[in-house]
């Protein structure tokens, strides 16, 4: 939708920058704000920004799942956990991990940026342009990309059904374990 035509792609660029900047600001706010509740709300904003990124990358399914799982469920859990802590508005006091963590995250960010910049991203467009992929494969790839959901479903419930079910069993075990832990004796 947004990729067609230069003018529309300009708009896509604008949307990208808006989402990117706002999610970075929100992510910074999560770390820097003292009020834990507001920090959690900013975490939601940053989640939504990531969902927007997924939309721009034409992965609508992932975007919606991001909203559904992270915004709808995980962030509520986080807020619940925050409500159980003391002094929500002051946040946690400064501790000795501050400096090491700052150094570690700076290093991590530097490495991530370096990797992102230096990698030769072999995107689909580039691959097709270079002629590395056969014609019929291209058509198939385009078909898959136009509607990914049946493919995801097929992969999850046919090809990798065992892994899928094992994951659900693990989740069930976690659920039962949590129940057993909080049960009053």
């Amino acid at each position: 939708m947004l990729g067609q035509g230069t003018e529309a792609s300009l708009l896509a660029d604008i949307v990208f920058w808006v989402i990117a900047v706002s999610s970075i600001i929100a992510a910074l706010a999560v770390v820097l704000l003292k009020d834990l509740f507001r920090a959690a709300l900013f975490l939601i904003v940053s989640f939504l920004g990531v969902a927007g990124m997924f939309v721009l990358l034409r992965a609508e399914f992932l975007a919606v799942v991001q909203v559904l799982v992270y915004v709808g469920a995980i962030s509520v859990l986080i807020i619940f956990a925050i409500l159980m802590t003391r002094d929500v508005e002051e946040g946690s006091p400064a501790n000795k991990f501050r400096l090491p963590m700052a150094i570690f995250s700076a290093l991590f960010a530097a490495v991530a940026i370096y990797v992102a910049v230096s990698t030769n991203w072999n995107t689909l467009e580039l691959a097709i342009a270079s002629g590395a992929i056969a014609e019929e494969t291209t058509a198939k790839i385009t078909e898959v990309y136009s509607n990914t959901i049946p493919w995801i479903g097929r992969l999850l419930l046919r090809d990798f059904v065992l892994a899928f079910e094992v994951a659900s069993v693990v989740l069930l075990a976690a659920l039962i374990g949590a129940l057993a832990l909080i049960r009053e004796r």
């Binding site: 939708m1 035509g5 003018e7 529309a8 300009l10 708009l11 604008i14 009020d35 509740f37 507001r38 709300l41 939601i44 609508e60 399914f61 919606v64 799942v65 909203v67 559904l68 915004v71 709808g72 469920a73 962030s75 509520v76 807020i79 619940f80 409500l83 508005e89 509607n147 959901i149």
Partner: protein
């Protein structure tokens, strides 16, 4: 995403007008804004109309008249209410978290409006034909949990906090049966797009899978916190629940979102279970859609005017023990039937649908009857009264 291609009010029509004097990307953005403006205002206006409808109908259900003073049949009453709310003092509690307090009405309002973006109102009347429409719905509506929580937290009011805690527990639980109920629809329609769901309903899914419809309606009425699941507000217990401290325009936005929720829910129910725009000819599809929405709204009102509310633990129990089991049963049955009746391309014939409907109605009635009478009936029985011997103790003493 595709946009409809015909008509002056279509995306390309408006884009063409703006593209005459604006650079393309700006025209694109402005067109989106214009369409959003039209749609949001249409929704707000229809919400105003709906509040009037609801008050009149509930008035009549309660053998009263309802608002009838201002304008023809009291139609202008919502506007009078809005003017009153604007003029009212907008108070914020001194201990409240002021920023969160101010934005939480907006957080509640936005997702409700967002759902409108993907609803097919007619053959060519929709904003976006998202191929994951159903998922979008579930995802977007889950955001209002946060608004409820934020409003209750920011108010620094115990009633509000209790209301929002109940609300979060309830909204999170009821998302599960709602999603599972919609899964049944998706199974038959073989697509996540709402447009395809409508196209697949040669027989309305209400008839094909009544169990799914019942679970969906129950879960949806919990999601919008209407009776019998209105524990979030529970005006006889909590005052007003999470918006106890709100007044003025913020309160109005809460009310707007709250009254818009039934409309959105009825629209969803119509799209998912009533065949959306489908009907028979001379009446256009859009009109069919509106008629069906009003009917569903009336049904919701009817229930709201009749039934009392459940207790919070009963509501949660109902979600996990009742609705969850019914939804799983529904998926199971529908999946087996789809396997049996599906042709090679994944479509089901009308004849197959009717067969499914007959089977499903039997299963539905049997399942509900068993669930209510075998599992839930014991608590409801009333033992025969036995006179206590204490009444005659003075007589014996004499």
């Amino acid at each position: 995403m595709d946009f409809s291609e015909t008509g002056i009010l279509s995306f390309h029509g408006i884009y063409g007008i703006f593209a005459l004097f604006l650079p393309g990307w700006l025209a694109y953005a402005v067109t989106c804004g214009v369409l959003a403006f039209i749609v949001i205002n249409a929704m707000v206006m229809s919400t105003a109309l709906y509040t009037w409808f609801e008050r009149r109908m509930i008035g009549r259900f309660q053998a009263r008249l309802g608002p009838n003073r201002w304008g023809p049949f009291g139609l202008l009453q919502p506007f009078a209410d809005v003017i009153k709310l604007i003029v009212k003092e907008d108070t914020t509690p001194s201990t409240a978290d002021k920023i969160v307090f101010a934005i939480s009405p907006v957080i509640l309002f936005a997702p409700t409006v967002l759902t409108i973006a993907i609803i097919p109102f007619g053959e060519n009347t929709f904003l976006g034909r998202l191929n994951i429409g159903v998922l979008f719905l579930i995802g977007v509506t889950s955001v209002n949990t946060i608004a409820v929580l934020a409003a209750g937290w920011a108010s620094r009011n115990k009633y509000a906090m209790l209301g929002s805690m109940r609300g979060v527990a309830m909204l999170c639980s009821y998302e599960v049966p709602m999603a599972l109920a919609i899964t049944g629809v998706v199974l038959i329609a073989n697509s996540l797009s709402l447009y395809d769901v409508v196209q697949a309903q040669s027989v309305p899914f209400l008839i094909v899978q009544p169990l799914g419809f019942l679970v969906f309606m129950a879960a949806a009425s919990a999601e919008m916190s209407r009776t019998p699941f209105d524990q979030i507000e529970a005006e006889s217990e909590l005052g007003a629940g999470y918006h106890t401290e709100y007044s003025g325009m913020k309160f109005a936005i809460f009310q707007l979102a709250e009254f818009m929720a039934p409309i959105v829910t009825s629209i969803l129910a119509v799209v998912l279970f009533f065949g959306g725009t489908r009907g028979f000819d001379p009446i256009p599809g859009q009109l069919w859609f509106v008629i069906k929405v009003v009917l569903v709204l009336f049904g919701l009102l009817w229930i709201r005017a009749t039934w009392p509310r459940l207790r919070i633990d009963q509501i949660m129990g109902f979600a996990w023990k009742g609705l969850f089991a019914l939804a799983i049963l529904n998926i199971f049955v529908i999946a087996i039937e789809v396997m049996l009746f599906q042709d090679g391309e994944g479509n089901i014939t009308t004849r197959g649908m009717w067969t499914m409907a007959a089977v499903n109605w039997v299963i539905t009635i049997a399942a509900i009857a068993i669930m209510v009478n075998v599992l839930g009936g014991k608590k409801l029985e009333r033992p025969t009264p036995k006179p206590s011997p204490l009444a005659n103790m003075y007589a014996e003493a004499d």
